[in-house]
Symmetry: C2
Subunit: 343 residues, 2 copies
């Protein structure tokens, strides 16, 4: 059961309805969204990105300044670190994601490394601070996260998504985009990039987004996305229960799979607990999900479908949800109930 407080979060934030797994690039408006505080209204003309701290040459850049630089466009699969939280027992109170906090968009922007090189970096850690401000755990804060210099490689300062300027909810005018990492790292509404020489101890690094066994455990930081596979629900749904109904006969089971640790090497599909290898296609880019499919001859009756991804590092999906205090990184396999009928 979910409290009214959690419902307030579920009503604001939103997942990608799983039938949208049929789109290789998630259409705008269907990509998942998790907003810690409020979505700021930013005046793009007045906005500037400040790059400061331990740099040889501090920068202050307009959106036009950024657009004038060499850019990269890449499809990236993102996932919220809290995806799967609602399945955890004991219950963890926060944004109650089931399995739909995902999406793949084509992001356009300037490589972080290029901008840091331009500024001349003299420190080992980079703090990214957003314009979104609020209270969490009793601490008033601007949303901020840091990355080591090495982890900035491959990251993007994105001002475009799916060929459009960023909409407000995705971080207009500029956001960080760190391929392969859970979404909390990809700071939206960027205002400042500050180079420092010691670990950044902001709330979202030290208190939030850590895997803790219990409240006394300082925990370990959450970084890359654990492997996951999800199936586009076959057949038609019941409005209220979301149970699926389909006719007996051949049906293609299909979905997508991804991991932030390595390429997907295998996807298996379970029908009533019997597993078979699915076919796995090509991803639209190195940091994006792969399509998979399996032809199934659906027989009359009730069935449980599931799917499981394994990546090149050998990481896979557990049967049971891995519990932790914050309810993060639950990549347990998806289970889907379907009713097959002949008529």
């Amino acid at each position: 059961m979910i409290s009214l407080e959690e419902l307030q979060l579920a009503a604001r934030n939103h997942g990608m309805p799983l039938e949208a797994l049929r789109h290789e690039i998630t259409p705008l408006g269907l990509h998942y969204l998790l907003t810690h505080f409020d979505i700021p209204v930013v005046d793009g003309a007045a906005w500037r990105l400040v790059v400061d701290g331990l740099v040889e040459q501090p920068l202050e850049l307009s959106l036009d300044d950024l657009r004038a630089r060499e850019t990269v466009t890449m499809p990236v699969t993102m996932e919220c670190a809290g995806n799967g939280r609602a399945h955890l027992e004991p219950h963890v109170v926060s944004q109650p994601w089931i399995t739909e906090a995902i999406g793949t968009a084509e992001w356009t922007g300037v490589p972080v490394a290029a901008l840091l090189a331009e500024a001349g970096v003299k420190g080992g850690e980079v703090v990214f601070t957003g314009l979104d401000r609020g209270v969490e755990g009793g601490v008033v804060q601007d949303y901020a996260r840091s990355l080591s210099l090495a982890d900035c490689d491959g990251a993007l300062l994105a001002y475009g998504v799916n060929g459009e300027p960023l909409p407000p909810q995705h971080g207009f005018p500029l956001r960080l985009l760190v391929p392969g990492w859970y979404g909390m790292t990809s700071v939206k509404w960027l205002g400042r990039i500050t180079v420092v020489d010691e670990p950044f101890r902001g709330y979202q690094m030290i208190t939030g987004y850590r895997i803790k066994r219990d409240e006394d455990d300082p925990g370990t930081p959450i970084t890359r996305i654990e492997p996951r596979s999800l199936m586009a629900p076959p057949g038609i749904p019941d409005f209220m229960t979301r149970r699926r109904f389909l006719p007996a006969g051949p049906v293609r089971l299909e979905g997508r799979a991804w991991s932030g640790w390595g390429a997907i090497s295998r996807v298996e599909v379970g029908v009533d607990g019997v597993w078979a290898d699915a076919q796995v296609g090509e991803p639209p880019g190195p940091a994006a999900w792969v399509p998979w499919w399996l032809e199934w001859d659906a027989t009359e009756g009730e069935h449980e479908l599931s799917c499981r991804a394994t990546d090149a590092t050998g990481r896979s999906q557990p049967d049971a949800p891995p519990w932790n205090v914050g309810g993060y990184a639950n990549n347990a396999i998806q289970r889907l109930s379907v009713t097959v009928s002949t008529d």
Copy 2:
């Protein structure tokens, strides 16, 4: 408390975060979305709109055929008939909206009346059938709703929103748009328009979307949007509780108000139960919300803010939620808790 079944709906469907009330036209991706079944994947090139039934000349039109016709663009405020449901007691099980199932977009398309005139109508009721299929209340169905010929006046067959083609979730390639009516009438993913000469008895007319006192009551149909005013929450939020914090001193309280029955004639703002008239601005169009604002000198302490709209027909917002079986049309006044501090 909300069940996991209701949470499944809350995770799929999504509201407009109330800070987005600051936008006169809701950016794409922030407008509320209620999808009964699945969002269909439609091939726009192969798709055709069929106009049939009691017409002199049945039509079969491509998207290009529709684009070639005379079009209208208009800002329209939409609201889900279930908005406010989560506040009802006794609890009503369905999509658990709090107050955020709203949005205002600029829709572009062909007037329904023009197309009906072209076909030559010989019946009094028009049935709009979508391509979305599923089960509701045990009934397998294509989503379908009807309007009287008179109520089709002013309605649009929209293929564009905010200057873009419809995204999948808003009804690509074509949707009905009925200004002033709750959203269930504005059938998405339109496939067929059928003219008939007796009342249409589809599930979404006879069973769903009626105001019923109890399960035995046949009820009365839901039509136009009841007046509502909502405030953009001032200050900054707590992530989990969404409680608001702001400094003592002058602050502008602002929001928007609308009614499907008539123009907004008055908006009042309550501070700890003391009401004052807000200033009311101009709407971006006759079927869209009006902005309102009131300067408040916030004093230290805990306060309850609220707002109440009245329209030209004299309809206003009740203090307590009006209960009915389906949990529809709850336009009770919004209440917002804020903590004001000096520091």
